[in-house]
Amino acid sequence: MEQEEEGNMTDAIISTQHLVKTYKMGDMEVHALRGIDIDIRKSDFVAIMGKSGSGKSTFMNIIGCLDVPTRGEYLLDGLDVGKMNRDELAHLRNRKIGFVFQSFNLLSRTSALENVELPLMYNNKISSHDMREKAMNALESVGLSGRSHHLPNQLSGGEQQRVAIARALVNDPVVILADEPTGNLDTRTSVEVMDIFQKLNKKGITVVIVTHEPDIAAYTNRNVSFRDGRILKDLQVEHPRIAGEELLLIPAISEEDTI
């Protein structure tokens, strides 16, 4: 038992113990998280599920270093995040985490390439030349190298989300966190996005997505369900759906139609 815990500690990218988050809303105390213990290991592909109010977004904010827990411990890649200040959290987000959002959150009137470069802008160690090269590589890995100079409003929803994934990838993060990444997309585009996540995961990248759609969770390897600030279920998925195979069956629609 002792040994197993030790083993979990060493290759866990995300490790939380008794994570509690309490908000004060006037006189009311809202218990968003009531003690979460979870280890997410390298190369995991995890879906966090639950209804709204279950605490999954709060959990996502904390493991994404956007927020700090009220109590409990959170280790990201071996670093204790719990007591970090704003600047230290920003540094962690820049170096260790890639975000993908439901509403894409790309900078408007800014080209796809420059959107992807954005995280590198806040890393002084990277030269302008490397920046461009890394951003082009990231765009290529989501199949958008031909659209690098398009503006977000010239891209379809699926393409915008792929730019966002490229942006999340560009700084070689230890984990990609995606908050309802398919929430604004149609079925085929959703499968395309999940296909990208599955391919990235195959390359060894840890991916955590938050979703309330069981269909989407079925593409991952592990489903964790939240309810009332606690983990209800934590199940390994025996036979994940393979997005790449399903795409062949869904009738292909030309990109123009999806816009």
């Binding site: 956007l66 920003a90 540094h91 987000r93 170096r95 959002f101 959150n105 954005l118 806040y122 002084n124």
Partner: protein, 406 residues
């Protein structure tokens, strides 16, 4: 974020809203331009006042004998007869801070010529007098030192004298006049100088060689006063000290004894006038700076709107790792760029305005480098000052709220 990238990003976001950026800039442009124009007008009038004063001879020092005292009753200044030509010679030779010098004697004379007559004061001086008083000759020439030694009966007349004796527009040079029945030949006509600060007509004068007036007209051995000009305005105190020392020594007065003469300078008038025009400049510039201040508030206003509008962008930037200070710097640089570019355009616009004012209103304007630097620095400071609060507000946003902002 590297500064180069910050500046690039700021430039891009400003060019996304060209109209808004320009209008915000306009406040600074007008502010800087009016500060420069007002300072130029102020400086120009200051210089023209200074030029007018120095045309009176700002370096001028006049040495009078002090009032004599007879049994406790003081007589008017200059009534004691204690200065003579030797006093003048001592000053002329022994005071290095003195450039030009002349003894003066003054009397009044009845002038008769061509059936007209006129009464005016007649000054007997050395040719240096024209240098000391900045008197220019319109036609003819000044008498020479040799003519003075010969006690030549020639004189220079002012415009008022010429007009009253010969009528307007007549060149009096070469004409004969009688002064107190002594015939004089007019050798020069002074350029018109108009009234002085006290309303005296400076053109109502006859200037003749010192020896002629002292010996032929007045038959006296003393002199009324000595006029000198210091080598420069700043040398006036030194010249005063030297003259005091020389005259005290000649009059056998100890250093602690009161001098029996008085030295007057025009420096007080000049400093008062300069101070007045200085106050005027400050007044004009402070009114103009208010418009610059209003321009700064314009920047703050638009930056606040911009922060609210771009909350989502700030959230995204923070999400990918921008620290508070990166966001602060971004908005500060944007505010600074508005004020900096506005400042540069304002300087150009201000110079243009000054030139237009100079040519249309015929006002003297002088644009100094200091006024350009001052208004430029002031506008930059305003950019930082008024950009700080909105930038601070942006930097302190919570990334979670900013990311969800609709």
């Amino acid at each position: 974020m590297k500064l180069k990238n910050q500046v690039k990003a700021a430039f891009r976001s400003l060019s996304k809203n060209k109209m808004r950026t320009f209008l915000t800039m306009l406040g600074i442009i007008i502010g800087v331009a009016s500060v420069i124009a007002m300072l130029a007008i102020g400086q120009g009038s200051k210089e023209s006042i200074q030029a007018q004063i120095s045309s009176l001879g700002t370096n001028l020092l006049t040495i009078f004998p002090s009032a004599s005292m007879t049994g406790g009753v003081r007589m008017e200044a200059g009534s004691s007869v204690k200065m003579n030509l030797d006093d003048y010679k001592a000053i002329a030779t022994r005071c290095p801070a003195v450039m030009y010098s002349t003894p003066t004697v003054r009397t009044s004379g009845q002038l008769i010529a061509a059936g007209q007559n006129w009464r005016t004061s007649v000054w007997g001086v050395y040719p240096d007098y024209f240098e000391i008083r900045n008197l220019a000759i319109q036609t003819g020439a000044v008498f020479t030192a040799a003519e003075d030694r010969a006690a030549a009966k020639i004189c220079v007349v002012g415009q008022t004298v010429s007009k009253n004796l010969f009528g307007e527009g007549t060149d009096p040079v070469g004409k004969l006049i009688r002064i107190n029945k002594i015939p004089f030949s007019i050798c020069g006509l002074l350029t018109a100088k108009g009234q002085n600060a006290f309303g005296q007509d400076q053109d109502d004068i006859v200037i003749a060689p010192f020896t002629t007036v002292q010996e032929r007209m007045m038959t006296i051995t003393y002199i009324n006063s000595i006029m000198v000009s210091a080598t420069s305005e700043s040398m006036i105190p030194e010249a005063t000290d030297e003259i005091t020392q020389v005259l005290k020594e000649r009059h056998h007065l100890g250093p602690s004894e009161d001098p029996d003469f008085t030295i007057r300078s025009q420096a007080d008038i000049s400093s008062a006038a300069t101070a007045t025009s200085g106050i005027l400049t400050i007044l004009l510039a402070s009114i103009a700076s208010i418009s610059l201040l209003v321009g700064g508030i314009g920047i703050m206003n638009i930056m606040l709107v911009s922060v609210t509008e771009r909350t989502r962008e700030i959230g995204i930037r923070m999400g990918v790792g921008a620290r508070g200070r990166d966001v602060l710097l971004q908005f500060l640089i944007e505010a600074l760029m508005i004020s900096l570019i506005g400042g540069i355009l304002g300087v150009g616009f201000g110079i243009l305005t000054s030139q237009i004012i100079a040519s249309i209103m015929k006002w003297p304007v002088t644009i100094t480098l200091q006024s350009i630097l001052l208004s430029f620095l002031f506008s930059t400071a305003i950019g930082i000052f008024f950009g700080w609060y909105p930038a601070r507000k942006a930097a302190s946003l919570n990334p979670i709220d900013a990311l969800r902002y609709e």
